[in-house]
């Protein structure tokens, strides 16, 4: 009911926008206000569904001509992702009301507002749709709406390219998904998921093929390697609040698809699937964070770290699949819990980070980290919120990033006992790789935060930056609070997840996470227990001690200039983001394959350069070695085939002659 209300709210917002198309300001408030209202309703409906724990099923609409139904099925999983959607969409919508004034030209505001509402509605429908065509319908509309938003500033070629890349890749993904769906459906003889996902509809190699199709199709949206390349292009191109939604929710729809259709939908997974996901996840996570580390564009950096987190989520899924194929539904439930919780947490802190980034971009008019610096003093609130997000995404206790990464570690280490032999060594190694990932993430975000907010401004724009209006700060603050809250009190979320996961086929009845108000234990027997609240309190106590030790009462702190080796220290002397990540780039040179150009600009004698220009570039491996050749090959083939239509009438007639003669000979044979 609430859900339908939300959808109606979207429709109303769109209608108003169409009515007010000539008045951008009003239109902006209407569309994004409406979206915020709808998102609140979505949260409410999600909470309601999670609390009741039942499955709400009803037909929303039927396409008169074809009889294809658009039916809602709100089960636990759907509700959980609805919660994620609402949790991100609400702040994003509020944030957008003032933000969009700067982000897009006024004339285009209505389009953006409408597209945003369409996007939200379609995501909701994707999550609750109960049968194939409705799902594909919503899925495609979702892609189109996102494309429109990414292309909202299509004057820049980069944005056009990003939009097209996204559109094409997600369409290919959709193709795979449709193929998989229809194969399943023809097996089940029905288009309803309830009939298709019974687990024994298809078998053998067909089943694996379907799984692969799902993995690829949804992997595109989820940003898994090697089909992630759209992500770092599209996120910077879109307005920042939209990027926040894309990274927080859109990417999660891919995860949703993988979980519902790939992981639990096809019956007990084949062991190889789980292993593949474990490796794929680790690879995605590590390469994602490594690329993130090398970025100078703040939003690109965040985009790549989204890929990293998608990888972490998939690691959990891999562990879950291996567990259930080893006949340990309890551990499977556990891996799923880890993944789903990380999905929520990532949505929260990545949404927060993108919103803060948006404020920074708005204040400085640039996305280049090197042109920031010293913003913490000029935009204290944004800075503080960004810091919270950065700590959370680095998996540092007692924030929420830590809780889900802890769960992922547990699901890996617990699985160690589930499978015998050499295979199980994958788990501790995977855990070590996960540790590497989060340590690198910490380095990455120290760089992001430090280069952006600390020390002195490195550009005039940064010098004149001001903090965003409260209407843009509040959403960030809310999300930051969510990071802390989910970190200190994982209990409620885990409790909800306990029901969600318990209801999934294949893990049903398993009791994964014993969750007190603020306790996390893992599996039975538990190998670890965590009470983040105690950690928090202990830290507080120690902080008090430390503060006491340095307490000087009233006596003022003496302020002096930083020692600049004798000279006056200017912003030029600061350690830039590039310099910060340089050592890691050199250490992981095998991945980056960096190239550098150093040019000394001199007026007269080359021995007295007045400036030295330095540029370092890293190899875009996938774009260059996978996609460029692919595109080239396709276009080459197309070019070759164009001789078919070379303009010669005689050739055209010859085709018909050939066809005729061919068929005649064929028929002459059959009698």
């Amino acid at each position: 009911m609430l859900l339908s209300a939300a959808l109606i709210a979207h429709v109303v917002a769109i209608v108003i926008a169409v009515a007010l198309v000539r008045r951008p300001a009003a239109c902006r408030i209407a569309t994004f206000g409406g979206a915020a209202f709808a998102s609140a309703l979505i949260i409410a409906s999600a909470v309601q569904a999670l609390a009741s724990g039942g499955v709400d099923h009803r037909v929303l609409a039927t396409h008169a001509a074809t009889g294809f139904g658009l039916s809602l099925t709100i089960d636990g999983l759907a509700a959980w992702f609805l919660l994620i959607q609402g949790a991100v969409a609400l702040p994003v919508a509020i944030y957008s009301i003032p933000y969009m004034r700067h982000a897009v030209p006024p004339a285009r505001t209505p389009v953006v507002g409408i597209a945003f509402n369409v996007l939200l509605a379609s995501v909701t429908l994707v999550l609750v749709s109960g049968e194939v065509v409705g799902f594909v319908f919503a899925w495609e509309v979702m892609s189109l709406a996102t494309t429109a938003l990414v292309a909202s500033e299509h004057e820049h070629p980069a944005n056009r390219r990003a939009a097209y890349l996204y559109l094409a890749m997600s369409h290919v993904g959709t193709g795979c998904v449709i193929a998989a769906f229809l194969t399943l459906a023809s097996g089940a003889g029905s288009l309803a998921f309830s009939d298709m996902l019974t687990g024994h509809v298809v078998t053998g190699s067909t089943r694996t093929a379907v799984f692969v199709l799902f993995a690829v199709g949804f992997g595109v949206k989820a940003g898994l390697l090697p089909v992630h390349v759209w992500l770092p292009e599209a996120h910077p191109a879109a307005p920042s609040s939209i990027s926040a939604f894309m990274s927080g929710v859109l990417v999660k729809t891919g995860i949703y698809g993988i979980v519902r259709f790939g992981v639990v939908g096809l019956g007990v997974p084949d062991p190889s699937w789980g292993l593949a996901f474990l490796l794929l996840g680790s690879l995605t996570a590590i390469l994602g964070v490594l690329y993130a580390l090398a970025q100078q564009d703040l939003k690109r950096l965040l985009a790549y770290s989204t890929i990293e987190n998608a990888g972490i989520i998939v690691i959990g899924l891999g562990a879950a699949m291996m567990a259930s194929s080893a006949g340990r539904p309890d551990l499977a439930a556990f891996g799923l819990t880890a993944s789903l919780l990380h999905a929520l947490n990532h949505a929260v802190f990545k949404g927060l980070l993108f919103l803060s980034a948006g404020s920074v971009v708005m204040a400085t008019g640039s996305r280049d980290i090197e042109s920031f610096g010293g913003l913490l003093r000029r935009m204290p609130w944004t800075g503080a919120c960004f810091l919270v997000g950065a700590l959370a995404i680095s998996g540092i206790p007692p924030l929420n990033g830590f809780t889900s990464e802890w769960l992922t570690f547990q699901s890996l280490l617990l699985n160690f006992s589930s499978v015998p032999g050499l295979v199980r060594l994958n788990f501790p190694v995977g855990a070590a790789l996960l540790a590497l990932t989060s340590a690198l993430a910490a380095a990455c975000y120290v760089k992001a935060f430090g280069a952006t907010f600390l020390a002195q401004p490195r550009s005039t724009a940064a010098t004149q930056a001001h903090d965003a209006p409260w209407c843009m700060v509040m959403p960030q603050a809310a999300l930051a609070l969510a990071c802390v809250g989910l970190g200190l009190f994982p209990g409620p979320a885990l409790g909800a997840l306990h029901r969600v996961v318990g209801a999934l086929p294949g893990v049903a009845g398993a009791s994964p996470v014993g969750a007190g108000a603020f306790t996390m234990t893992a599996g039975s027997p538990a190998i670890d227990v965590v009470r983040p609240l105690i950690v928090g309190l202990a830290l507080l106590g120690a902080l008090a001690v430390a503060r006491a030790l340095t307490w000087r009462g009233r006596s003022p702190v003496r302020r002096t200039a930083t020692w600049g080796c004798g000279g006056a220290l200017s912003a030029e002397a600061e350690y830039t983001g590039t310099a910060f990540s340089k050592p890691l780039i050199m250490i992981f040179g095998a991945v980056y394959r960096p190239t550098r150009e150093v040019a000394a600009l001199a007026h007269g004698s080359p021995y007295f350069p007045h400036a030295v220009r330095y540029r370092a570039r890293i190899e875009p491996t996938f774009e260059r070695f996978l996609y460029a050749p692919l595109t080239r090959t396709v276009l080459w083939l197309a070019e070759r085939m164009k001789v078919l239509q070379a303009g010669s009438l005689h050739a055209y007639l010859a085709y018909i002659l050939a066809l005729g003669v061919g068929l005649l000979i064929w028929l002459g044979g059959t009698r």
Partner: protein
């Protein structure tokens, strides 16, 4: 007797088609087409006589009047107006063309063997001949560069089709046949007009030059 006449005419038509393939002078090609149409007419009449189907006479009359007299006359006029009298080098030289046509003839006969035996005493020859003619006509369309020759080739195909009609049906219903003929006249007129347009636009009837539209 009838049989011999039919086979003779059919063979004659096939021969004329072959000659067309070998021929370069436009006027001669047109005349060959005319002769072909006459032969077709004779076939019609003979069949009418043989199994007493009077409406075949009308068919014959139409054929001879239209394809034997009017169209050749019209096309000759066109050629004179245009003042281009010889076909230029076709895509395939004459010997190769003739060989290909022989192959096509084989195909035609091969297929004709599949038709029900005995419905027509001459069915096989006639159908074999006509299918071969059909393919040869197509072949002409594919290899010849002059607009007129292409028209003639098209008309040869048309003749072949009529021959088949005569060979295996007891003649199509009259109304329909009238319709066919009417359309063919129109088609030829339109084709003629197009030829004029081409010529006064490109100063040539070489349609192989019409290849601007690619891709």
């Amino acid at each position: 007797m009838t049989h011999n006449i039919l086979v003779l005419c059919a063979a004659g038509m096939l021969v004329s088609a072959f000659l067309m393939v070998g021929q370069r002078a436009l006027i001669t090609t047109i005349r060959l087409y005319g002769a072909q149409s006459w032969a077709l007419g004779v076939v019609a009449i003979t069949m009418g006589l043989a199994d007493g189907r009077p409406h075949l006479y009308i068919t014959a009359a139409l054929t001879i009047g239209l394809k034997g007299i009017f169209i050749p006359w019209f096309l000759v006029r066109v050629v004179d107006r245009v003042g281009i009298h010889r076909e230029i080098e076709p895509f395939l030289n004459v010997p190769a063309s003739l060989l290909t046509c022989l192959a096509l003839t084989v195909v035609g006969y091969r297929v004709s063997a599949g038709f029900p035996v005995g419905t027509q005493l001459v069915a096989h020859h006639v159908i074999g001949v006509s299918l071969s003619m059909l393919l040869i006509g197509l072949f002409l369309m594919v290899t010849r560069k002059k607009a007129i020759t292409q028209i003639l080739a098209l008309l040869t195909v048309e003749n072949a089709i009529f021959l088949i009609a005569l060979g295996i049906t007891s003649g199509m219903p009259l109304v329909v046949e009238l319709g066919f003929s009417f359309d063919i006249i129109l088609a030829v007129l339109v084709l003629g007009i197009m030829v004029f347009r081409i010529v006064d636009r490109f100063e040539s009837m070489d349609v192989s030059r019409l290849s601007k539209l690619k891709g």
